[in-house]
């Protein structure tokens, strides 16, 4: 369960929206939508404890450390950084107590899941945008966190990558994990996510996706 009480966020003295009061059930799958600059990514950072709210509180039913996995937007990564795809993904083991053998098996499985087998030794700078995004998602998988916060996870993914992404999101949801996804692809949100939080300056709304997002027009 995530409960936001009287929550505002943004630059000091300049809250991006009116106070947010909302409760998301444990195991729920929620999309966060809204116009550019309305504070969707910042809200995820506040929920992850990476940014302080201006007012109010975020209450989680689990401690943050070790229980929250955050997928940042990939443009914040230094593409020239001299590590391989495998090293990037393996960072997801942070804080996990596993033997080298268990790690190796898990890493292999997760790379296979995200169609990254064979690329593990490729340096970061030689990866395409889609490969990098799938690597970040693979790293997220290794965290095994009950709360997943995804900031534009579909960015740079091709059709196959997006299919993989939505399959994984559905799997996490059925496993009982709480998943929050910032997404600009409204058609995909309507298709795959039942509940949506619309962020607006005048006040945010939590409602079924089918109510907030019109079905795509057929030409």
């Amino acid at each position: 369960m995530i409960r936001c009480r009287n929550l505002t966020w943004g630059a000091p003295g300049q809250p991006l929206t009116q106070a947010l009061d909302v409760a998301l059930d444990k195991g729920s799958l929620t999309a966060v939508i809204g116009a550019n600059g309305c504070g969707k990514s910042s809200l995820l950072k506040v929920l992850a404890g990476l940014q302080k709210p201006l007012t109010g509180k975020v209450l989680l039913d689990v401690p943050r450390r070790g229980n929250v996995a955050f997928l940042p937007q990939q443009q914040f990564l230094d593409r020239q950084f001299p590590i391989s795809l495998q090293e990037l993904v393996a960072a997801g083991f942070w804080g996990k107590k596993q033997t080298a053998q268990q790690r190796s098996a898990r890493l292999e499985a997760v790379l296979q899941d995200w169609h990254l087998s064979g690329l593990q030794h490729r340096p970061l700078m030689a990866l395409s945008g889609g490969e990098l995004q799938r690597s970040l998602l693979a790293r997220l998988c290794l965290a095994d966190a009950p709360l997943l916060l995804l900031d534009e996870p579909h960015a740079a993914l091709d059709e196959l990558g997006q299919k993989l992404l939505w399959q994984h999101i559905q799997t996490w949801h059925t496993e009982g994990r709480t998943v929050i996804v910032v997404c600009h692809d409204l058609a995909a949100v309507r298709k795959h996510i039942s509940q949506t939080l619309l962020i607006k300056c005048s006040g945010s709304v939590l409602a079924p996706s089918s109510q907030l997002i019109k079905p795509p027009q057929v030409a």
Partner: protein, 288 residues
């Protein structure tokens, strides 16, 4: 045979040359990972700024205790950490970019150091402080360098993973651990410590060259971080060895000779390095 003998003979014959070589080699190994991480963290100029920041502390140490290793070390360490801390504090409180904050503080530090020496009325050779003399490394300084190198390598091994993640993806690290700021603080402390111990051997300004040039050159040879660190240490060691020989055979100041050798290595790397070197084709950015 004659050339081979010239490469080794000065070190076989003279104790001060052996001491300078040993001190320079351990310093090169110690500063290699620091230089590589400074570049990756986009803090390449911080070494230069901190090297200037050390001066007022070293000058105060000299004023009160003369040419005493502990006084110069603790004075330089206090001033260097103080300068880095003040720059970070101003950045945090005012939003001024860190490089601008450092650029503002280091001329103040340099001017303060020179003024302190002037007010003290003593005649410490400022050129010695700025450019040093590897050939004057005594056993006390060498012992200090060994301790600092051992401590640096050990601590870098301990903070390697958090520092790597904090550099690559600080948001991810902050979401899984609180260790990022600690790793950053320890890393900066090591940078200051190495600059302080290095300035007594090859001078405050020259040690920055030994820290940064091999690290920058190594980026033209590999795309893997551990390999970059090893190559950087190797380039640093070769620069120390060749620089000392140049200094010995042509009666040149040792600090600048070492740094010029590192500079030559950098230029060779820019031209011949397989990773983005001028004579190589640009690599494909995509695997497709």
């Amino acid at each position: 045979m004659i050339i081979a003998s010239q490469l080794w003979q000065p070190f076989q014959e003279f104790v001060f040359m052996r001491r300078a070589l040993f001190g320079g080699l351990v310093l090169a190994c110690s500063t290699a990972p620091l230089g590589v991480f400074l570049i990756l963290r986009r803090m390449s100029l911080i070494g230069d700024a901190v090297a200037h920041g050390i001066l007022p502390g070293a000058a105060l140490g000299f004023w009160f205790a003369g040419l005493s290793l502990p006084a110069l070390t603790f004075g330089g360490l206090g001033a260097g950490l103080g300068m880095a801390g003040l720059a970070a504090w101003i950045t945090r409180r005012t939003g001024l970019r860190e490089d601008a904050s450092l650029a503002a503080i280091y001329p103040i530090s340099l001017a303060s150091g020179i003024l302190i020496l002037g007010i003290a009325g003593k005649r410490l050779d400022l050129l010695h402080l700025l450019f040093g003399s590897a050939l004057a490394v005594d056993s006390q300084t060498l012992t200090g360098m060994l301790w600092v190198t051992g401590f640096s390598v050990l601590l870098m091994a301990l903070i390697y993973r958090p520092l790597l993640l904090d550099t690559l993806d600080p948001l991810f690290l902050r979401s899984v651990s609180r260790v990022g700021p600690l790793a950053h603080g320890l890393f900066l402390t090591l940078v200051v410590l190495n600059l302080v111990i290095g300035f007594q051997a090859i001078g405050a300004l020259m040690v920055v060259g030994l820290m940064m040039l091999p690290a920058i050159a190594s980026r033209f040879w590999s795309r893997r971080l551990p390999v970059l660190i090893l190559i950087s240490a190797g380039i640093g060691c070769i620069s120390v060895w060749l620089g000392l020989l140049l200094s010995f055979h042509y009666s040149l100041p040792s600090g600048p000779a070492i740094v010029l050798m590192a500079g030559s290595m950098y230029l060779l790397s820019v031209i011949f390095g397989p990773v983005h070197g001028l004579l190589r084709r640009p690599p494909l950015l995509s695997s497709q």
